[in-house]
């Protein structure tokens, strides 16, 4: 079985500020990490490999630094890593990203299963997985909270708003996993060392045979027109103060007045 797992490097913080002069995001000094949901996807891939035997190919589109996320994926048990990196890929929305990822999937070829994290914590779109599946014309399973492969099908539990489902899709198929699917392992030092010897490839637009009018900014129908600080709403906040016991008593009084106790 050949599994492709798509990962993204994201800023290791929630607390991003706007540069008051330029209105741009201030990225300086912000560390990066492997998107946490993608760690679940890597773990799912490695568990399937351990259970049934598979080669696991980690793929990431990003700047050269995204190599770090791929190295981590290798240390966690992926076999090969592919960095899709080109200035022509920069500024991509989910359509251009999915186009680029689908080209990489085709170039790697003969895939059985494509794995994605449910969403990236920086963009929160959850669109890249289904869109990549659409480019490849394959079925998808989103919100997968379990995964197994049997007789040429991938079988997953899905947890929806009011129900849960068990579904199956014939391979090749794409699956986007939730955090509940597993607990990602930590890379062992020995595996971090071994990871350095695993094959790593860097592909640019030319390597992928990409039409650069469909990648990056030119290939992105959507764009950010404005970034805004959230409007300050001036709620008429009533503050409790004093010692912990005094505050507790004031809150309890309020709860009593509201007939909650």
């Amino acid at each position: 079985m050949k599994i492709l797992v798509f990962i993204k490097q994201v800023p290791d913080t929630d607390d991003v500020k706007l540069d008051p002069k330029t209105g741009n995001i201030m990225r300086e000094g912000v560390a990066s990490k492997l998107n946490p949901l993608d760690a679940n996807a890597v773990e799912a891939a490695v568990q399937l490999k351990e259970k049934y035997g598979a080669t696991v190919h980690a793929v990431s589109m990003g700047p050269p630094q995204a190599e770090d996320a791929l190295k981590k994926a290798l240390a966690l048990g992926c076999d090969e890593a592919y960095l899709l990196s080109d200035r022509a890929f920069g500024g991509a929305d989910t359509l251009a990203t999915a186009y680029t990822l689908s080209l990489a999937a085709r170039k790697i070829g003969d895939y059985d299963l494509l794995l994605f994290g449910r969403h990236a914590i920086d963009g929160d779109t959850a669109q890249t997985g289904p869109a990549t599946a659409a480019f490849l014309g394959i079925p998808q399973i989103t919100l997968a909270s379990s995964i197994d492969v049997q007789d040429g099908y991938v079988i997953c539990d899905r947890v929806l708003e009011a129900s849960s489902q068990k579904v199956r899709a014939r391979l090749p198929a794409a699956v986007a996993v939730t955090q509940e699917i597993n607990t990602p392992r930590y890379p062992k030092p020995i595996n971090i060392m071994k990871a350095l010897k695993k094959p790593r490839y860097v592909w640019n637009a030319e390597d992928l045979g990409a039409d650069t009018s469909r990648t990056g900014i030119p290939g992105s129908p959507s764009s950010t027109k404005e970034l805004l600080e959230p409007p300050k709403r001036n709620a008429d906040t009533k503050y409790f103060s004093g010692s912990a016991e005094e505050i507790a008593a004031q809150i309890a009084d309020m709860l009593h007045d509201e007939h909650l106790i």
Binding site: I121, D124, A126, T128, Q165, P221, A235, K238, I247
Partner: protein, 332 residues
């Protein structure tokens, strides 16, 4: 074709088992504002089998037209037949805007339409409107929620977005409202490669936060996992449920179904306690419609206080145990 030739505001009328998703009515309400600006008709696009009776509800809640496509292969949702049907309808009618609920179904389907229609799709918008340049924008929290972004789709059509549930109030239903039903024939096949094997109502473990009247939520400032027990005790004393902002779910202390916010649940309780939660926009969009917001945070400038009815600038580790004791004493 020039983008000006695309006309009409479409709302994907998500239904399952003949029941419309509530989000459809919410988006229809917002669509009235968009219509007031552009003068374009609002069409609800209804896919399924034997779903024609739902048109009446769609008219009552603001649809001018219902575009109806009924087919055996659309009887229950799966991505590829729905993708094919919606693609055919959109290519025929050329709407300028298509809005979907940011539900599990909407977020499964819409990205495939983005690809088939070669257009833009904004994820999980919390607001929609037209800006000073007359450009249709979709508002989303960005970068973890400390910033809002106006996303636009300048050239491609239709302009598409999934819209977060519970952001807008449905309009008062218009009694006896009617409109035109445009029945369309679509060419679709069942997906032989995708099958729902079992469906079960979600197991009610009794601690679901959706629908809870009282919620006690912990956030990044919670120092130890064991502190959550005190929060849980407070919740239980008030017949409420324990929830969290994203950091406590990311670090594995609580499951994702307890997460409030942009990438979690939207809740609308009567009372919500925010304990050691700073209050990113991403969190606020999940709980800002609570009737009464009470927040305890040791940082005076925490944004959560901006939307709180009651606040205490204090260490939760002393206040919450004291509150638990106080409530127990009064209940005794």
């Amino acid at each position: 074709m020039a983008k000006e030739d695309y006309r009409g505001i479409w709302v994907f009328a998500e239904q399952q088992n003949g029941k419309l998703n509530d989000t459809v009515l919410e988006i229809l309400a917002k669509a009235q504002e968009l219509k007031a600006h552009t003068g374009e008709d609002i069409s609800a696009v209804l896919l399924g089998k034997d779903v024609r009776p739902l048109a009446e509800t769609l008219f009552a809640y603001g649809a001018d037209k219902v575009i109806l496509a009924e087919h055996d292969a659309l009887a229950s949702y799966s991505a590829r037949p729905y993708e094919a049907a919606m693609t055919q309808l959109a290519e025929k009618h050329k709407p300028s805007i298509i809005l979907y609920g940011a539900t599990s179904l909407g977020r499964d389907l819409a990205p495939r339409l983005m690809v088939s229609l070669k257009t833009g799709l904004t994820a999980d918008a919390i607001d929609l409107g037209f800006d000073q340049d007359d450009v249709f924008y979709q508002t989303t929290p960005a970068y973890g929620g400390s910033i809002l972004a106006h996303i636009v789709i300048l050239e491609a059509r239709p302009q598409m977005a999934t819209v977060r549930p519970m952001m807008f109030e449905p309009i008062q239903p218009r009694a006896g409202a009617s409109g035109e039903i445009v029945a369309e024939t679509v060419s679709v096949e069942p997906d032989a490669d995708y099958e729902v094997l079992e469906t079960a109502p979600k197991q009610d473990t009794g601690d679901a936060i959706e629908g809870a009247q009282v919620i006690v939520a912990g956030g990044r400032g919670i120092k130890e996992e064991t502190d959550l027990e005190t929060l849980r005790e407070l919740a239980s004393l008030l017949d409420g449920k324990l929830a969290a902002s994203r950091p406590l779910v990311d670090n594995g202390w609580l499951n994702h179904d307890k997460q409030i916010g942009q990438s979690g649940a939207t809740v609308k309780p009567r009372y919500i306690f925010n304990i050691a939660i700073s209050g990113s926009v991403q969190y606020q969009v999940g709980m800002q419609n609570a009737d009464c917001i009470i927040s305890v945070n040791h940082t005076k400038g925490a944004p959560i206080f901006d939307i709180s009815h009651y606040g205490a600038v204090a260490d939760y580790r002393s206040v919450i145990p004291a509150l638990v004791e106080e409530i127990k004493r009064r209940k005794a």
